[in-house]
C-alpha cells in the first residue's frame, strides 16, 4: 500500500533537494531575522570598522548632501543643491555628518539600550514576580499593588517626566525604560510561578528538604523562563520605539549621539519641500523595519515555545 496516498490524497510527501531547503526555510521568519541582523545586530557590533565615516565628524560645507542616486536640484536655472555622492551614500545631515554612518552607530545605542533596559527591568520584575508568586501573602499583595500602580501610569508620559527630571542621558533612558518594563515581567513571572507552585515536582522538592531559594532558582525559574524569553523579544521592539520616541521629543539620548529617534527629529523640518527628506527617512525606516522584524520574530518564537501552538 502506498502510504503516501490515502484515499487518493497525497500525505507526508517529503520534499527533496532545494525544495527541502525551501520548505525548511519557510518554517523560520527569515526576512525579519535577516533585517534584524543587517540593520541592528551586525552594525551594532561592527559599526566602528564598517561605517564609512566618523558619525560625529561635522563637515558644514557638505551639509544636506542628498543620497548618492539623487540628481542636482535647480532653482531659477541655478543649481541650488548638488547631486548626491557615493561618498555619502545616504546623504548628510544639517551639519554634514554621514547619515549611513550615524544609522550604523545608532544601531549600537538602540540595541544596547534595549538589552540593558530589558535586562534591568527583567531581572527586577521577574525576580519580584517569582518571589510574590512563590511566597504569596503580604509580599504578593505589596508587589502586585506596586505593579498595578506602575501599569496604570501612562508609559510615555511617565518616561517623559522621569527623563526630563533626571536629565537626558544614556543611563537615564536605560533607567526610565527599565522602570516602565519591570511590572510586565513581574506580572508574567508571578502568574507562571503560581501555576508551578502547586505542581508535584515542587512539592517533592520541598519534601526532600530543598530550601525556598533553591526551589525558586532550580525548579520554578527554569519553567518560567520560556514565556519571559518571548516577552523579551516582544519588548525589544517596544523599547526601541520608546527610546526613539523619547529622543524625538528631546527627552531621550542627547545630541550629538546618533540615536535613531533623534535623527528623525533633527530632520523633521526638512521633510517638506524635499530640502532634506533623507535626514529623517532613513533612520525612520530603520526603526520601522527593526521593530516590525523584532515583533515578527517574537511572534514566531512564542509559537515555537508554546506547546499548544508549536505544531499548528
Amino acid at each position: 500500500m502506498d502510504i503516501s496516498r490515502i484515499g487518493g490524497i497525497p500525505v507526508g510527501v517529503a520534499p527533496a533537494g532545494f525544495g527541502k531547503f525551501i520548505a525548511e526555510a519557510r518554517r523560520y521568519p527569515l526576512i525579519p531575522m535577516f533585517i534584524l541582523v543587517v540593520l541592528l545586530v551586525f552594525p551594532a557590533i561592527t559599526a566602528q570598522w564598517i561605517a564609512p565615516h566618523d558619525p560625529y565628524k561635522v563637515n558644514p560645507r557638505e551639509r544636506l548632501t542628498p543620497p548618492a542616486w539623487s540628481g542636482p536640484q535647480y532653482f531659477d536655472g541655478v543649481e541650488v543643491r548638488p547631486a548626491g555622492s557615493w561618498e555619502n551614500i545616504l546623504g548628510t545631515d544639517k551639519l554634514g555628518r554621514d547619515v549611513l554612518s550615524r544609522i550604523m552607530h545608532g544601531a549600537r545605542y538602540s540595541l544596547s539600550i534595549s538589552l540593558l533596559a530589558i535586562l534591568a527591568g527583567g531581572v527586577v520584575g521577574s525576580g519580584l514576580g517569582v518571589l510574590a508568586g512563590y511566597f504569596g501573602g503580604m509580599l504578593d499583595h505589596v508587589v502586585m499593588r506596586l505593579v498595578d500602580i506602575f501599569i496604570t501610569i501612562p508609559g510615555l508620559l511617565f518616561a517623559l517626566v522621569l527623563a526630563i527630571v533626571l536629565g537626558p542621558s544614556f543611563s537615564t533612558i536605560v533607567l526610565v525604560v527599565a522602570v516602565i518594563l519591570w511590572p510586565r515581567f513581574a506580572r508574567m513571572s508571578r502568574a507562571e510561578t503560581l501555576s508551578m507552585r502547586s505542581r508535584d515536582f515542587v512539592s517533592r522538592a520541598k519534601v526532600s528538604g530543598c530550601s525556598d531559594t533553591r526551589i525558586m532558582l532550580r525548579h520554578i525559574f527554569p519553567n518560567v523562563v520560556n514565556p519571559l524569553v518571548v516577552l523579551v523579544t516582544l519588548e525589544v521592539g517596544h523599547v526601541i520605539l520608546l527610546e526613539a520616541t523619547l529622543s524625538f521629543l528631546g527627552a531621550g539620548i542627547p545630541r550629538p549621539i546618533p540615536a535613531w529617534g533623534l535623527m528623525v527629529s533633527d530632520g523633521r523640518d526638512l521633510i517638506v519641500g524635499g530640502n532634506g527628506w533623507w535626514v529623517s527617512l532613513f533612520p525612520g525606516m530603520a526603526i520601522l523595519l527593526v521593530v516590525l522584524s523584532m515583533n515578527l520574530s517574537g511572534d514566531w518564537l512564542r509559537d515555537k515555545l508554546d506547546p499548544k501552538l508549536r505544531n499548528r
Binding site: 560645507r61 540628481g71 551639519l95 514566531w300 499548528r312
Partner: protein, 638 residues
C-alpha cells in the same frame, strides 16, 4: 506556521520594503525644478561689519484727522481668560533700546505728512500671520507679561524707533531736557484717542502708565530700572493737559529709550483702569484683579485695536472705530497665529492659510519655490554671542581662579577655535554681521573702529594658535567643559550652530560635552553662580549697549555672564554720566576691556527674516527686532 502567523506578515514586510524603495526613487528623482520667481528682499552682506543702511525718512506721519467721539464707550470683545504660561528671565520682554541718544536739545515736532490718498485696495481685508509662540501668552502690558510683537499693534509709546532704530516722535511730538538730564519734558499730542471710546490721551494716562511700570508685581526687570530712575511725574497743565515732566533720581541722557515702545512703556488708559473698581487705586501694590482687567480688555491707542484672543492659538485685531492719527493700516484686520512647528507655518503659508510666516532659513527654498518672498529686517536684530562661565568677581565665594575659563588665554583659544566665516556662510548665507564684542555695534555709542583691524589677529579662526594658547595656559591636553545649548526664538539654527561650535572646541582638544537644555536650566545655573566649566551660546536683541552691559556684566544683578570689578565701577559711572560724550567714552572703554580680555565669544548680528506671500504683501519695512511687527506699515499688493 499559519497564514496569519507568518505568511501575511512576511508579505507585509515585502510590501513595506517595496513602498520604501518607491518612495526613495520618487524623492530622489533628479527632475529639474520649475523656475519660480526669484527671491527678493534678502539683502546680502559680507561677514565684515557693514554700516547699516542710511536712515530713511521717519515713520510715516498721517495727517491728523478729527477723531470721532463715540457717544457711549463700547464693550471690548470677550477674550479667553489668560494665565501665565511661563516664567520670564531677566532679558525676556525687554524692549530693544536701540537708538543713540541725541535729544539733549529740544526736538522739533515733525510736520505731519499727508497719508497717501491713493491707498491700494487690498485683495483681502484680514492679514493672517503665523509666528512661533511668545514667551508670555498674554496681552498684558501692566505686569510685563506681554511680548512686544503682540502688544505693538495695540499700543503706542511717547517715542518710537523707526525701521533704522532712530528715535522719532510718536505720542510725544517734541521733548526737551535740562542740561543735566535730570528733568525731561514731553509734549503730548492732543488728537490721540483710546480704543473703544475710552477718551483722549492726556497727561494723566502717561502718569498712570509710568506708575504702573514701577509696580511691585511687575514681572519684567525694567520695573527695577523705573523704580531707581523715576522720582515723580509732574503735569504742569493738569491731568487733562498735554505736557508731562519726568523728574528723575539721577541724570539719564537716554531717557527717550526708556519711554519708547521698544521698552514696553506703552501708554494705557487711566480711565479704563479706574473703571475697574476703587480697589485698583493702590497702584504700587500687587493687584491681580486690575491686571486681569487690562489683560482681558487691553485698551491702547495703536493703529489696531484688540478683538479676540485664544490662548496659545491666536490674537485678532481690527481697525479702531476712528481714523487713526498716525497710520491707517492697509489691512483693516490682523490675525496672528501662534504656531510652534516651522513646517506647519510653511504649510499654512503655502496653501494660503496665512500671508506671512517666520520660516527658518533651511525651509525658505521650499517657500520660494511656491512663489513666496523673503523679507529681511532693516536691522541686524539678533545678537548671537557665547559666554564662558565661572568668571565671577573675586569677592564671590564661588570664584575659583583655577578654573580654566577664568584664564584669558583659554578664552582667546576658545574664540580662535571657531571658524566664523564657515558658520556665516553655511547658516546665514553670509548675511550676518560679525560681532566685535558682546555689546558694541557700529550703530551704537561706544563703537571703536580699531576693533575691525584687530579682530582677525585676536579672534580669527586659527586652530593651531588656539592649541598653542591652551598649552601656554597650562592645558596642553585640553580640559573638560559642558556646553549647554537651548533654543531661542528667531534663530532656529541655534542648536546646529551650538553643535558646530562644540566640534570646533573638540578639535583643539577641549573635551566639550554638548548638552541641550531648556533655557531655565542655564538661568538657574547663572543665578546660583554654578557656571564653572560651562559655556553656552545665547541670543539677545539689537539693544543699546547700556542694557547689554547691565545684563551681561554688572555683578549686582546676580546673573551676569562675565563679572569683573572694572565693569561694576564703569557701569555705575555710566549710570550717572552727565553727557553723551562721557557715556560714549565709558561704553567704549568697557568695550575695549571686553575685547582685550576675550570676555565673551562674539559671533554675529543676524537679521531677522520671514516670508510673505507677494500676492498680498508688496512691502514691509520693519527692524525685525523681536520678530514680525510693524503691521501698520505693510503695503498691500494691488
Amino acid at each position: 506556521m499559519t497564514f496569519s502567523g507568518i505568511i501575511a506578515p512576511r508579505w507585509l514586510v515585502y510590501g513595506i520594503i517595496i513602498i520604501g524603495l518607491l518612495a526613495l526613487v520618487a524623492c530622489g528623482a533628479a527632475a529639474p525644478e520649475p523656475a519660480p520667481a526669484a527671491p527678493s528682499g534678502g539683502s546680502s552682506a559680507s561677514a565684515q561689519p557693514a554700516a547699516p543702511a542710511q536712515p530713511a525718512a521717519p515713520a510715516e506721519q498721517a495727517q491728523p484727522s478729527q477723531p470721532s467721539q463715540p457717544s457711549q464707550p463700547s464693550q471690548p470683545a470677550q477674550a479667553a481668560q489668560p494665565e501665565p504660561q511661563a516664567t520670564v528671565s531677566a532679558e525676556v520682554g525687554q524692549g530693544a533700546i536701540g537708538a543713540q541718544a541725541k535729544e539733549a536739545t529740544p526736538t522739533p515736532a515733525p510736520a505731519p505728512a499727508a497719508e497717501s490718498m491713493e491707498v491700494a485696495e487690498p485683495a483681502i481685508t484680514r492679514l493672517e500671520v503665523a509666528r512661533g509662540p511668545t514667551t508670555w501668552d498674554l496681552i498684558d502690558p501692566v505686569a510685563g507679561r506681554g511680548d512686544l510683537p503682540i502688544l505693538l499693534p495695540l499700543f503706542e509709546g511717547l517715542v518710537q524707533f523707526d525701521q533704522f532704530t532712530d528715535s522719532v516722535p510718536m505720542l510725544s511730538p517734541e521733548w526737551s531736557t535740562k542740561e543735566d538730564f535730570s528733568v525731561w519734558t514731553f509734549q503730548l499730542r492732543d488728537d490721540v484717542q483710546f480704543h473703544y471710546g475710552w477718551g483722549n490721551m492726556s497727561a494723566k494716562d502717561v502718569e498712570h502708565t509710568l506708575f504702573q511700570e514701577r509696580r511691585q508685581d511687575h514681572n519684567d526687570s525694567r520695573a527695577g530700572t523705573w523704580r531707581d530712575l523715576l522720582k515723580e511725574v509732574v503735569m504742569p497743565e493738569g491731568p487733562d493737559g498735554h505736557v508731562v515732566e519726568l523728574h528723575l533720581n539721577k541724570p539719564e541722557p537716554i531717557m527717550t529709550t526708556y519711554v519708547s515702545t521698544n521698552y514696553t512703556a506703552v501708554i494705557r488708559s487711566k480711565d479704563h483702569w479706574d473703571a475697574g473698581g476703587g480697589e485698583l487705586s493702590a497702584e504700587f501694590e500687587p493687584n491681580e484683579t486690575g491686571i486681569q482687567l487690562t489683560a482681558n480688555e487691553p485698551i491702547g491707542t495703536g493703529p489696531y485695536r484688540f478683538a479676540e484672543h485664544a490662548e496659545s492659538q491666536y490674537v485678532i485685531y481690527d481697525a479702531p472705530e476712528f481714523t487713526h492719527w498716525r497710520k491707517t493700516p492697509d489691512f483693516p484686520e490682523l490675525k496672528i497665529h501662534f504656531v510652534r512647528e516651522p513646517t506647519t507655518q510653511l504649510a499654512m503659508l503655502s496653501v494660503g492659510e496665512v500671508h506671512a510666516a517666520e520660516i527658518p532659513r533651511d525651509l525658505q527654498p521650499s517657500a520660494l519655490r511656491v512663489g513666496m518672498k523673503v523679507i529681511t529686517g532693516t536691522t541686524p536684530a539678533i545678537r548671537l554671542v557665547g559666554f564662558m562661565g565661572g568668571n565671577f568677581i573675586p569677592s564671590r565665594p564661588e570664584f575659583d581662579d583655577t578654573q580654566p575659563m577664568t584664564n584669558p588665554l583659554v578664552r582667546q583659544a576658545m574664540n580662535m577655535a571657531i571658524d566664523r566665516d564657515e558658520i556665516n556662510e553655511v547658516f546665514f548665507s553670509g548675511r550676518a554681521e560679525l560681532m566685535m564684542q558682546t555689546h558694541s555695534h557700529v550703530k551704537f555709542p561706544g563703537w571703536q573702529p580699531e576693533w575691525l583691524d584687530r579682530f582677525e589677529a585676536e579672534y580669527g579662526y586659527n586652530p593651531d594658535r588656539a592649541r598653542e594658547l591652551l598649552a601656554e595656559a597650562g592645558y596642553p591636553e585640553g580640559f573638560e567643559i559642558t556646553h549647554q545649548s537651548y533654543p531661542r526664538p528667531g534663530l532656529p539654527e541655534m542648536q546646529d550652530i551650538g553643535e558646530l561650535v562644540n566640534s570646533y572646541w573638540q578639535e583643539i582638544g577641549i573635551k566639550s560635552n554638548f548638552q541641550p537644555v531648556e533655557r531655565a536650566v542655564n538661568t538657574k545655573l547663572l543665578r546660583s553662580q554654578g557656571t564653572h566649566n560651562t559655556a553656552w551660546l545665547h541670543t539677545g536683541s539689537f539693544t543699546e549697549p547700556t542694557r547689554a552691559i547691565f545684563v551681561y556684566h554688572y555683578s549686582p544683578t546676580g546673573a551676569a555672564r562675565f563679572e569683573n570689578p572694572y565693569f561694576d565701577t564703569q557701569y555705575e559711572a555710566l549710570e550717572i554720566a552727565g553727557t553723551l560724550e562721557d557715556r560714549d567714552q565709558l561704553i567704549r572703554e568697557m568695550g575695549e576691556y571686553c575685547f582685550d580680555s576675550h570676555c565673551s565669544i562674539p559671533l554675529f548680528w543676524v537679521p531677522f527674516e520671514f516670508m510673505v506671500n507677494p500676492e498680498y504683501i508688496a512691502e514691509w519695512l520693519t527692524p525685525g527686532v523681536f520678530g514680525v511687527r510693524d503691521f501698520e506699515y505693510i503695503k498691500a499688493a494691488n
